[in-house]
Symmetry: D2
Subunit: 382 residues, 4 copies
Amino acid sequence: MMCKNDGYRIHRAGPREKIYFKPEDVKAAIITCGGLCPGLNDVIRQIVITLEIYGVKKIVGIPFGYRGFGNELAEIPLSRKVVQNVHLSGGSLLGVSRGGPNVSEIVDSMQERGINMLFVLGGNGTHAGANAIHNELIKRGLKVAVVGVPKTIDNDILLMDKTFGFDTAVEEAQRAINSAYIEAHSAYRGVGIVKLMGRSSGFIAMQAALASGQIDICLIPEVPFELHGPHGVLKHLKYLLETKGSAVICVAEGAGQNFLEKTNAKDASGNVVLGDIGVHIQQEIKKYFKEIGDPADVKYIDPTYMIRACRANASDGILCTVLGQNAVHGAFAGYSGITVGICNTHYVYLPIPQVISYPRTVDPNSRMWHRCLTSTGQPDFI
Amino acid sequence: MMCKNDGYRIHRAGPREKIYFKPEDVKAAIITCGGLCPGLNDVIRQIVITLEIYGVKKIVGIPFGYRGFGNELAEIPLSRKVVQNVHLSGGSLLGVSRGGPNVSEIVDSMQERGINMLFVLGGNGTHAGANAIHNELIKRGLKVAVVGVPKTIDNDILLMDKTFGFDTAVEEAQRAINSAYIEAHSAYRGVGIVKLMGRSSGFIAMQAALASGQIDICLIPEVPFELHGPHGVLKHLKYLLETKGSAVICVAEGAGQNFLEKTNAKDASGNVVLGDIGVHIQQEIKKYFKEIGDPADVKYIDPTYMIRACRANASDGILCTVLGQNAVHGAFAGYSGITVGICNTHYVYLPIPQVISYPRTVDPNSRMWHRCLTSTGQPDFI
Amino acid sequence: MMCKNDGYRIHRAGPREKIYFKPEDVKAAIITCGGLCPGLNDVIRQIVITLEIYGVKKIVGIPFGYRGFGNELAEIPLSRKVVQNVHLSGGSLLGVSRGGPNVSEIVDSMQERGINMLFVLGGNGTHAGANAIHNELIKRGLKVAVVGVPKTIDNDILLMDKTFGFDTAVEEAQRAINSAYIEAHSAYRGVGIVKLMGRSSGFIAMQAALASGQIDICLIPEVPFELHGPHGVLKHLKYLLETKGSAVICVAEGAGQNFLEKTNAKDASGNVVLGDIGVHIQQEIKKYFKEIGDPADVKYIDPTYMIRACRANASDGILCTVLGQNAVHGAFAGYSGITVGICNTHYVYLPIPQVISYPRTVDPNSRMWHRCLTSTGQPDFI
Amino acid sequence: MMCKNDGYRIHRAGPREKIYFKPEDVKAAIITCGGLCPGLNDVIRQIVITLEIYGVKKIVGIPFGYRGFGNELAEIPLSRKVVQNVHLSGGSLLGVSRGGPNVSEIVDSMQERGINMLFVLGGNGTHAGANAIHNELIKRGLKVAVVGVPKTIDNDILLMDKTFGFDTAVEEAQRAINSAYIEAHSAYRGVGIVKLMGRSSGFIAMQAALASGQIDICLIPEVPFELHGPHGVLKHLKYLLETKGSAVICVAEGAGQNFLEKTNAKDASGNVVLGDIGVHIQQEIKKYFKEIGDPADVKYIDPTYMIRACRANASDGILCTVLGQNAVHGAFAGYSGITVGICNTHYVYLPIPQVISYPRTVDPNSRMWHRCLTSTGQPDFI
């Protein structure tokens, strides 16, 4: 009998002595959900390679995430040959999308297709779905392993040191930041703004600012700030233009949502559609300096899609390799309803519910955020 | 006596036997105007190095273009040591800006500073200014050489094979196009849109599309198109999504201006502010596919500032080197009111008025545009 | 009847009104010979795509150059789907090699396979082979088109402005030169040496030196030099270390062969195996400065394989696209024994014998070489 | 009184409440010793910036490592302005070298110059020197802080999770590996060999192999292997060429030294000069396949200098920033004879003697090495 997950304990990841599936009986499926993230192809590749090492012959990709279970889209046959070089390109070989059929329909489709191992690459919503599928499978008494690999470029999964794609995102963000720096620095009273990913968590913005050494102001969702007012961002910007002649701002997409009109719109993944803080700040800056009679030359860069579509760098490549291997080891060990990760430098299996309750965030009292503040030299904006 | 330019003839560029300035009497100034363009630092660097080879000791940069003549901004002393590695970064060491004082004020400032060689890096408007300065200097009977180096990333200067920065722009555009391709390809009914530079001329869009091999639709200012209607872009897009599953569009910023509300706003350089065709197309596509009940997943990338801020690639590096050397040779030969360029594979001097009357454009009947159409497979959109 | 080539005339390349093959009767084969060169996959890709546009259904790749005709290696079926993204990787999809069976055996194999269009990507030796095949086919009265695409990273084909891969090579060489510059500059009495491609011609070394602005000494096959002696390279190097503290040398592989022991060894392509001038210079420099009691810190970089294996840059991508299209147009127009190229800015067809008699070389009296000397500041080394 | 280090304990790094130097009394010096490593400029930059934040005015760089103490080379004045963008280039702003005057002479020179804070960036030998300087200073009763920052691209420092430059090296190694893969894959019976850094430790080779997914055989100093014999590398290579058609080998420079003639030569840092295992393997492979009558096409790449001269990537940039800040905090806290590092995810101060006794190595029984073996699919070569 399968051991599934035991609800709360963390297990060290890796191969187990006993395996709960005969490789010749396995039909494994892989799906990628949500938005793009560097490393998706690396994880897919490694899952396929490791399955083949176990001796599995039937491996397929379900196209376009959960959606692929709901319609007539053909399965994508996978093998070492197919995936050999996919990690050299960004994107997802299988396609991604948000939304899809409901849990019961997905499980129906899995039964029809004879899938008894499902690897799910996605974020919080996707993992919630994976867990629901896992529970439905148990309810139906089916011996199927459902294993998640957390995919969030924002690096905001609870308990995990780092999620794949994050390191690449920070690296690629350097290019945008350096462009903004050069634009700002070469302009008369130049202000460069870079909007980076980070719906609830400012990890990318913080690390990218720290790595670049070129950011004067870093704004993240975890740290409230004022734009106007005596301690606001605009006042500090005025000071920077007077003393340094130019300034560069890096803002996480989820920062300063209080300045934007609330919408109740949600995307197909169920995420609230955020207002565009980058555009808002750009407009406020332009207006402010025009009003005080000394216009600034504002350049706004949104590199989001150029970062997401990158191939994984070497560091993420290794992380993806290990996560992919462990996902397969976990499934063969009979775990289900789990996800893989790196936790306090150790690779582990975690029950899905443990990691999806809320997003991990930057601690404003942490050393890392203070290092970031030291590096930017920015004051409190309250 | 200085020979200035002779009004219409093209001269082969290069060093002359006789020089019209004693190097020890020369005070040379360099200015960079308008927006950023890869290679500005390369040209500055080469002008400085070549001036030093001639024996010039007094070389300065005027900060922030013509604006630097109008206020108290300090001159930037230049020497081989200062410029040695500036070509390894993008931007302009001297700063750029639009606008500035009027011609008479500029010439006053030049006289005060004792400048008798002025190297002007800029676009059409900047060259018109340089020519006016040249004429005013003649009127005042001053022996000053004014030499332009055409800076237009759009590659739209009359008579010239290629302007510096263009090759780099096409190269860097590949990165954005490939991101758009990956986003579109990985999405369900994905459409990637890349807006590229090109106010009046579609050279960057055309060449970038041709080089990438990943563009399905290329839209440029020179070729009218319809969005709606039986032969419009949207219809073709629908066909592409049905047959290929995804599509990538590359649009020059000056294309399809007829779809946008005319504003009479002009920027500080006197250029009409264009409507944003990229955003417009994005919205029309979203609306169209929503209306026909089969939404598309549209991703829009505007890499403009990330392209402009790049350092020059090797090919542009060589072009900048030769242009910079020739600018100095021309000034020492006593030419004024000229600009340097490469014309039918030869490096030449041209009288400024010859090149600034209107922008060079893509010929819709040219082989290159037809090769582009072959590559994209797009029909006429009329 | 096929028109073949007319022995001496140059024809403008492009599609013709009449075509000499029914697309449905065509079986086209592509081979790549010799060493790697950026752009091979781009040309292959474009030939395949253009053949499909003409309506050809039977397209194959012969693996590993002429060798593939000689043994039991399977043909590689080619189609738009197969080649869609091959230009994003370097190398050759089909494999390359030197040598192979004799002309008669190749033509036998072509007859057996039913090939009536052969596209040959390779250098001088390969083109000589293509011409011999063409002649043998005529002798046998077979209606087969043999069309070459010159592949030489050295850019040393007679009459041609530029061959594909050259621009990329110059670009990639920057990386090695910059590394050598940093190593030399960061070391005490540091000397960086970069060996670049160029068996008979110094185009890559010259252009790479010019583009980088970081080279002090550029040595090419066309310009004789002495190492020792009062005007030798070593004396100048001593001067550079005393005045600048470091120096960077760029040497083409074919330079200074007079210093090396002659071998009569030839590689499988029939090229004489060159002595290693880079290693030789490195050793002579070390010895010289040790002997004068003031050792230099010498770092030697040979980036050859890292340059050859690159994917084509945008500029070469466009060149490859046009050459590939023209190769197919030429074959359909009934030409045979020709090769495609760009000649004085025009794309043309040339009879093979016209271009292979000897390699094109750098003219030591040309402006470009003099610009290079100005840039490096090096004296005559004789 | 200064607390120096307490001989064996590890302290958490960071600012302390009490500082043991008045900033206005401090004259701080920075030196960089040994070979280049990505991130040197980042650490220099951050030390300077942090010193300025403490209020230090006198900051200098000693040129070319310890050697700079021994002769008349001028100190390099450092300030935020000087170092602002140095992290954008590789190398060391201060120059590096091996060797130098003896400890007593160095301390004499420090006294003359009035240096009371010394930051030493270097490897094991350099740290041994720093410790000796620290002891000599104590013997002379001088209140001087000597703080090391471990610089070893090989990542082979005891107790430390990671040293700066390592991550960048693994990243850059990908480029060489991919070139070798493409060369091998495009050749008939192609073998690509990449030699990577790692005198005693195979971390770079192991991680680079794991990240690339393109390596078939990874050879490191920690794991003995045979070339010839029934289980040797050559036998496996033969198998790979027969089954896959090509193979890629990655070898650490310190691997297989038993195959090479022992020399007793040492470099100026006192390191034994290693034989060139890369060249040796290349020759043995060529010979072997020639002898068995089926030659292989072997391509050898040594990217060492191109990797060392890189600028730091984002991840190393952050590590360097934190190490640089902590080095200054440590000095101001009155520590001396210590070095900074990251140890079990925490930033710490360690007494120098604790970390230099021998190099950290790859554990052949570790999970990471086993993951590498899984990835390459290589057997034991004994």
